[in-house]
Symmetry: C2
Subunit: 157 residues, 2 copies
């Protein structure tokens, strides 16, 4: 990254990496899942259920910030493979909770443990301050980009 | 972002924002382009030509890290609207260079000027060190995620 950039230009250069980074992350997660029998999308659902304990399809959809159809399709596939089980929802007879099974708990625990080791190793290359700054700016960008939607500024045309 | 996380966990939390951030950026860029008659994809091509001066379709494809078909389709649309013009490539009679026209130069200059103002304003909320740390980690992540592809580590199964 060139060092003669203004702060705004430097930030812009970093933000421009968001698209290739997401593509590389997806390919990487896919490669790391080889042999587990779990797809990238299923991994995300299993991880969400691991954190939430149990959740309805709309709760998983909200958590993952993805399309409802995607969650419906993947939950169906996970149910068929015995990776997810449905439990009655006492509040809404029409909707069900989903939760991990012993098999999928073991699989997602293994996946997350490997990922955790990789992130710990990667994180050790940076100071706590650098990582905190990365997260601070990443969060602020996310808020800023979603907050301004609809309010376009055409000050310089 | 919780503060009781280990460096690896904090980093993971930040990286998990990559997908929603890209979606928010795309929606935001779309909103900011309203009234310009330029799509998000066309904006990317115009920006690339603004930086490269002139380029062949494969050069634009490589620069933007997108699909060849996408560039071909958008270049065609931009040619039809007079936003891009073709010039002969002395090295390869079969391939042509593309470059901006006066009209599209004015449009992309206006778009980039507005974006620059927004990034400068956003960047002013952080120290130079924080922005440098963000870019350093964002670049390192991108290299790390693409470098390890194919070499999966199943140390913890």
């Amino acid at each position: 990254m060139p060092h003669d950039l203004t702060p705004g230009e430097l930030l812009y250069a970093g933000v421009q990496l968001t698209r290739p980074l997401l593509r590389n992350i997806t390919t990487r997660v896919e490669a790391d899942l080889a042999g587990t029998g779990v797809s990238v999308g299923q991994r995300a659902i299993l991880e969400a259920l691991r954190e939430l304990g149990q959740a309805t399809a709309p709760q998983i959809t909200g958590r993952l910030d993805v399309k409802r159809q995607f969650v419906g399709r993947e939950i169906k596939a996970l149910l068929e493979r015995g990776f997810v089980e449905a439990v009655a929802n006492p509040d809404h007879r029409a909707s069900r909770f989903y939760r991990l099974t012993p098999t999928s708990t073991r699989i997602i625990d293994g996946i997350r443990m490997r990922e955790k080791e990789q992130f710990d190793a990667f994180a050790s290359r940076f100071t706590r301050e650098e990582i905190a700054a990365y997260c601070k700016i990443q969060s602020a960008l996310n808020r800023e980009m979603s907050a301004r939607q609809g309010r376009t500024e055409h000050t310089a045309t």
